[in-house]
Amino acid sequence: MDICKKTPTIPNFLNLRVHSRFKGHFRGDEVFKLVSALIASSIFILLGLMIYELVEGSWLSIQTFGLNFIVGNTWDPAISKVFGALPLILGTLVTSAIALLIGVPISLGVGLALSEYLPRRFGFALSFLVELLAAVPSVIYGLWGMFVLIPFLRDHVYPYLQAALGFTPLFSGPIYGGGVLTGGIVLAIMIIPTVSSVMRDLFSSVPNSQREAMIALGATKWETTKIVVSYARSGVIGAIVLGLGRAMGETMAITMVIGNKFQVWPSSLFDAWYTMASIIANELLEATYDLYVSALINVGLLLLIITLIVNILARLIVWRTLRLVRGIARE
């Protein structure tokens, strides 16, 4: 027969190895496991460091104001040097709430359109477009918001809104184009791409058997759709909370349209206001003395805490409803 397995040119170390250096490869695997685990565990250090640094940076402010910082209404870096974050917290929550009120129904509609209503090809192309929107940076939304949306709202929408609803304090007062409502609208536009993409994925992964069961019962498209949404409801809630998180953390776009006016409460939806994120962006570089900087870092710490709470709540809700739904079909 021709050349056998022991060709002289190939080093024959292999034959010896069966009986010696048994530990060799065991060690390689162990080392790999250790090194990769260590590197992967850097996340613990990173997050720990983040919390530490934020607390340490806020310490001066915490010492000076304590919990009053959270309920304080004054932000006076110039004269009295008193800082309080309540209006900022409220501003963040209100603008995010507006964003959800406007953005969630639209996102639901888009998600359903892309997954249930549009024909395949169309749905595919438009999904791509929607995802493209998600890649547009925050500043560009802000730029567009400042120079396109604000004039548009100021001249063509708000006057009519005020004409119709001006009797309520919400819609009365001077219109300059930016402000709380505009901020909420821009945030809504920003969260729609992400939230609707997630919803589209959710709806698409609902097993067809569910739809077919409804159709076989003689249901209309809408009635079938309701079942699809209901099946995916834990994910839908998760997506909404995702949108909330993004809205609350959004910085640049909102800074560019909200007016950046610190006040306890805006006089109307057309008035300017401030959020936690935008005050940091706006003032951190201008903060000239330690307490000022510390107060701003303190705002950052608060924002972190609120975001974490929202995320944990989201997980709890999703986890709860997921347990109920799990029984129906394979995921």
Binding site: M1, D2, K5, K6, T9, L14, R17, G24, H25
Partner: protein, 252 residues
């Protein structure tokens, strides 16, 4: 006759499921041994116990001894990686590395063992492909992707890949079940040729194939070794009634 494998009281479990029950057999060097039996009776598990692949499945367990070249491969001091170098395996569905060329597929085992010299690798690739009866068909296209070959060629590529690291044994798990009759015939021919230098153990669900290709045949029935002996004897004069029923196709 040199005993290559001395299998003693081999038992294997998947969790609590007892898949192999007290297997005892001796396999001779440079022979072809066929393992046959109905589906799901532990043939593949048996094979995977011989190169210490069974234990990779979570919940899998092995007991007993498999003495290879005088060493129990399950002994604590034995490195499973070295075991697998000496005892190669070819799988049921051809699985060449799709992102590598034909050349790289064959060379990868050696490269990762530290062989760097290009001329050495070139020679090894040529030798392995020749051994696998594939050289003539691919010698001008070594740079093409491993996945661009036909099914039968891919399987021969996998055989070449396994041979490149210079094993002494080749374990084959139903290597032809995903192939057409012509490719199957080519591989069976290849097996007979390789048997001159390698010990081959082939699992097959095809009784005729076992009869054609092997020197020894083992009949496994739900984890138990029912019969084992020279192929002619097992087929012409089976000792066990179950064996006879299986061979004559009374169940499968």
């Amino acid at each position: 006759m040199v005993v290559k494998f001395d299998i003693q009281n081999l038992n294997a479990w998947f969790g609590s499921k007892h898949v192999l029950k007290n297997i005892n057999m001796k396999i001779e060097e440079n022979t072809v041994t066929a393992i046959m039996g109905p589906s799901g009776c532990g043939k593949t598990t048996f094979l995977r116990c011989l190169n210490r692949m069974h234990e990779l499945t979570p919940g899998a367990r092995v007991s007993g001894k498999v003495i290879f070249n005088g060493v129990d491969i399950y002994d604590k001091s034995v490195d499973p990686v070295m075991v697998r170098r000496k005892i190669g395996m070819v799988f049921q569905k051809p699985n060449p590395f799709p992102m590598m060329s034909i050349y790289d597929n064959v060379a990868i085992g050696l490269k990762l063992s530290g062989v760097r010299d290009k001329s050495v690798l070139d020679a090894a690739v040529k030798r392995s492909l020749e051994l696998a009866n594939l050289w003539d068909e691919v010698k001008d296209e070594l740079h093409k992707s491993g996945a661009s070959l036909s099914g039968g060629q891919q399987q021969r590529l996998c055989i070449a890949r396994a041979l490149a690291v210079e094993p002494e044994v080749l374990l084959m798990d139903e290597p032809c079940s995903a192939l057409d009759p012509i490719s199957t015939a080519k591989i069976e021919e290849l097996i007979r040729k390789l048997a001159e230098d390698y010990t081959i153990i082939i699992v097959t669900h095809n009784v005729q194939q076992a009869a054609r290709v092997s020197d020894f045949t083992a009949f496994l029935y739900f984890g138990e070794l029912i019969e084992y002996g020279p192929t002619r004897q097992v087929f012409e004069n089976p000792q066990n009634e179950l064996t006879e029923r299986y061979i004559t196709g009374k169940f499968g």
